[in-house]
Amino acid sequence: MAASTETGHPNVLGKAVREGVFAGVVAFLMFLLFVGIETYQDINNALVWRTRWGLLAIFVLVAAVSRFLSVGFIKPHIDRRKLAKAKSGVLEISEQKSFFHRHFLKIALVFLLVYPFLSLLIVGKQGSLKYVDNFGIQILIYVMLAWGLNIVVGLAGLLDLGYVAFYAVGAYSYALLSSYFGFSFWLLLPMSGILAALWGIILGFPVLRLRGDYLAIVTLAFGEIIRLVLINWTDVTKGTFGISGIAKASFFGIWSFDTGSANSFVKAWGLSASSVYYKIFLFYVILALCMLTAYVTIRLRRMPIGRAWEALREDEIACRSLGINTVTTKLTAFATGAMFGGFAGSFFATRQGFVSPESFVFLESAVILAIVVLGGMGSLTGIAIAAVVMVGGTEVLREMSFLKVVFGPDFTPELYRMLLFGLAMIIVMLFKPRGFVGSREPTAFLKERRAVSGSFTKEGHG
């Protein structure tokens, strides 16, 4: 590659054209049947087909042009930069980082704290509903879920494909206990966490001996079992109809957010009625829950139990020979992860006001796991960024009606969110095989804190 960049551009451009055409041909063959031809039922319910050559042409063009650009321009550019860096002799980790880079966490936190008010200021009450609820709360729920799963998958290295089960346990705990017994959110929030943690231990016991693929299959089954129980235990859970009219959270019992009630928040503060106040309140609740998750994770990583989780991920046999009880270590990992899933679940129930088994399908587990993997196993910052990109990206897709101009009026962008997920996965894994933030921050230091780059460790060992 380096030789061809030095000999000049024609060589590279020729190669780029060849590769671009090749990519176009491959795309044409791949999409010919999937995109080029569409089947549908006509009035007589007969299955007929029509062609979509225009859409197919767009797909092929996108593939060819992006391959051409990446081979002809992007890759040479990256190689040149790498070469220049290697020549200058400056190691990546010793480089002075920009102000934004160094204070990223503080800036992000401040931004989150002012975010609801910022959106109120800019787009007004009605517009804020979307930004606070769809973007803010939705993303933060996934951040929390992914951070919870991170304890199980990222730290303890136990691949859990049924994490959504604990989310469901939390949500239904709140929904059922609040509608049958009228308990408040603030009482049920910890209870949902504890119940989910119990289920984490119940799941943990039978799978203690399993690792890797086998564990993944069993946890997947567990997730499905919980969902099927929720569907079929109609006496209690009302099955697929779900539970509606779940009580709203109150402002710590001081003010209520129900419009009719005597001590309603808007009346007490003399505000005009709007649901945006409740959403802003919920935003801060989930933000606080996220911060709790992060705090607990960071603290635990420095304590013996967190260190034991990480050691367990690295080498189980070595762990046992060092006197670590792998049984309790695994169970606490499952229970702690499940507990945060439960918190998030009960929050989800109070925010939606409605839960049904629909919300707890396998796809949710997959999305949460994808966020953890994309973010870089074990890295809180990376996972948060991945959640913003993936969940925020899905929401942004809904907004992109201009795509209809390109792809035709039948194009519904949000249906392509799985495509987006897949694409993001491939891109991140190609360029950053350990996720956005791939380096594991050491938690113990003798004298000074020093960055240890992920690039020092072998693939598959990090």
Partner: protein, 242 residues
């Protein structure tokens, strides 16, 4: 020296499924000794070491440590009786730094000695001190072996089990590691039970040694005796001298 028994393995039989890996092994390690176990591949040396640690557990026979029967204890409780192991293949934690690896070895009840112990290990293996912020997985084979032994020593063991510390290492590094073991034994009276393929180096180092063939101990004696024994020479030493 009045021999006070620290570890006693009595008529131990261990099976993997239906395959008998140990067929009634008797081994004894006294306090302050270096005892080595030599033998060919598949003789059951590592199995004996793992059986002492309780994984797999012996089907019959007894493992007695410091007067207590530990045959049926789970591995982590055996480790807490201060039997530290540097396992075969070293098994350090690759993503953790050298320093964190040492922390993992310390266990909870030794935390008050922690800084002192780390310093001790850094004097024993100065290379580890240079590399303390580096990840375990980035170390060379010899450094990983030092780390593995260092991690085991952090537990302040009464008995140190070493499973093939010379595996895949250059002769010069093996020499260094064996010298460190000798030093630990002479200066601190550490009891060491060593499993080795490198029979010559192991026998030279050891007070006593056992030879194992097909899951049975066939010979035992002092290191010097076995070095001079024609059978041992023929089987394990000729051509194998480093």
């Amino acid at each position: 020296m009045a021999a006070e028994s620290l570890l006693k393995v009595q008529a131990v039989e261990t099976y993997y499924g239906n395959i008998r890996a140990l067929a009634g092994v008797d081994v004894e390690v006294n306090k302050g000794e270096i005892v080595s176990l030599i033998g060919a591949n598949g003789a059951g040396k590592s199995t004996l070491m793992m059986t002492i640690c309780g994984s797999p557990q012996a089907r019959s026979g007894q493992v007695i440590f410091d007067g207590e029967d530990i045959t049926r204890l789970p591995t982590h409780l055996i480790a807490r009786r201060r039997i530290a192991q540097s396992p075969e293949g070293r098994r350090i934690f690759p993503r953790m730094t050298v320093y964190e690896n040492l922390q993992m070895g310390a266990g909870l009840d030794n935390l008050k000695y922690f800084n002192e112990d780390v310093e001790k290990i850094f004097t024993l293996f100065p290379r580890l001190k240079e590399r303390q912020t580096q990840r375990g997985g980035t170390l060379s084979g010899g450094e990983q072996q030092m780390l593995s032994i260092g991690r085991a020593l952090m537990a302040r063991p009464k008995l140190l089990l070493l499973d093939e510390p010379s595996l895949g290492l250059a002769p010069l590094i093996v020499k260094g590691i064996f010298e460190a073991i000798k030093k630990l034994n002479q200066e601190e009276g550490l009891t060491v039970f060593l499993v080795e393929q490198n029979a010559f180096a192991a026998l030279k180092l050891s007070d006593r040694a056992y030879v194992m063939v097909n899951g049975k101990v066939t010979m035992s004696g002092s290191g010097k005796e076995l070095l001079a024994n024609p059978e041992v020479r023929a089987a394990y030493l000729e051509g194998g001298r480093h």
